[in-house]
Structures are given as C-alpha cells and as structure tokens.
C-alpha cells in the first residue's frame, strides 16, 4: 500500500525539509519501518519500544490511531498519515 505521510516541522530534518513523504506498508508499523529505511531516525521519534510515543499524535485519514489500533492500524492505498507532536506541558 502506498500512503502519503505528512511530517511536522520538527521532524523535517529527517526528510530533507519535505513536508510529505511516500510510505509503503499494510499497517502503520510497516510504514514506519519502510520510512526508517529511507529517512533513518524518523521512526525513533514516533515509535518507542514497539508503541507510539505518548506525546506524538498520529492520524490516518483524520482519525487518531489511538482509537483505531495504534501501530496495528491497517492502511489502504492512498491513505493519508499525519504525524503531529502533541502541544502539551505543565
């Protein structure tokens, strides 16, 4: 499955400044593995010990993946994946 992955400002150092990159995979986990091959380091900023980092939000077609199975969320051709850092503090 080919999907579009939209990358936030803070992670564009891994994509040569590109706002969006192409990813391949049947699940979100596979897409992040695929991305890491071409953009080393990107996955580690989103995934930690096999789970999504607490303060990074990922959406597939506008749906927060925390409610759709997290990294196991399945993807279809043409889906849009958005990565957004949480805006949070104390």
């Amino acid at each position: 499955m080919a999907v579009e992955v939209r990358v936030p400002t803070i992670l564009r150092t891994y994509t040569g400044g590109d706002k969006a990159v192409r990813g391949d995979g049947g699940t979100l986990a596979e897409v992040f593995d695929d991305l890491d091959a071409r953009h080393p380091g990107l996955k580690g900023r989103v995934v930690e010990e096999g789970d999504l980092r607490r303060f990074v939000n990922v959406y597939v077609n506008d749906e927060d993946v925390r409610f759709t199975g997290g990294l196991d969320t399945s993807l279809s051709d043409g889906d849009t994946v958005v990565i957004l850092p949480a805006v949070a503090g104390g």
Partner: protein, 148 residues
C-alpha cells in the same frame, strides 16, 4: 522579541481567568515565516487540570489542517500557570516541540484570576531543552508594521 497586539494579549488573559484554576491553552497563528501573531485560537485543555495542559487531539489536527490551508504557523503557543509564576516548568521544557514558536505564559496565581485588566505575559523560546526569555512588546492595532 515578541510583538503582540494588545487586544490579543487581553483575550489570552481573559481565557486564562475563565479557565482558572485549570490551565488554559491556545495559539496565535500568523502567516508562515512572518513572525506576526495575528489570529487568536483558544484551544481546549484536554487534560482539564490545574497542573497540566494538552491540546485535544482532534482539535489539534483541525487546527494544523486549517493553518496549513491558510499558509500559517503557530507563531505563539500560550498557556497559563494557575499556582506558579509564568516561567516554563520542567514539563513545559521537556515537551516543547515547536522550535519556531514563541512560548507565552501567563500566571493567574495569587488571586490574579479575580482581578480585571491585563496580566503580564512572558515569552520564551524553547529549543532542544534550552529556555531563553525574550521581551514582549504590546502594540496597538496592527502588528504588521515592523518599526525596526
């Protein structure tokens, strides 16, 4: 330095008073690359907490899509402290992920939430865990004119 329209500053202070004792949060968006905060967007603190804030995840996506469509960025990200001074907490520093934004804090501690009128806004850059405070200059009317 942060230049901020006085009416937007007043709206941020009103938001902080309204949500006290919980922390209030939001952004002031502006044209990408302009450093001009023009459009105040109060956000929901999904944590509903006096010691923590987090933009609601659905609102966060809607906000970024809207800013993207308008070629804007979050020039200012603000929140209130309701029991401590307007200085970034350790959590604020650890979680700051917008190196281009001005992080603005307002404090409603010590009874300040009960008063009227403007409260001091303090502004910081937070990059790679390093905090630097900057001057806040309130301007009237337009913040589009750079006088320097």
């Amino acid at each position: 330095m942060l230049r901020l329209d006085r009416t937007i500053a007043a709206a941020i202070v009103d938001h902080a008073r309204r949500d006290h004792p919980d922390e209030a949060c939001g952004v002031v968006a502006g044209p990408a690359g302009s450093d001009r905060p023009l459009r105040h967007v109060p956000m929901l603190n999904a944590a509903l907490s006096p010691t923590f804030y987090e933009f609601d995840s659905t609102e966060l996506l809607a906000l970024y899509k809207e800013m993207d469509a308008r070629d804007e960025e979050p020039v200012v990200i603000y929140h209130s402290h309701t029991a401590t001074e307007a200085y970034p907490s350790r959590t604020d520093i650890a979680l700051a992920q917008e190196p281009n934004s001005h992080y603005v804090l307002v404090s409603t501690a010590g009874g300040a939430h009960e008063g009227e009128g403007l409260l001091p806004l303090r502004s910081y850059r937070i990059v790679d865990g390093e905090v630097s405070e900057e001057e806040v200059r309130l301007v009237d009317g337009s913040v589009t004119e750079d006088t320097e």
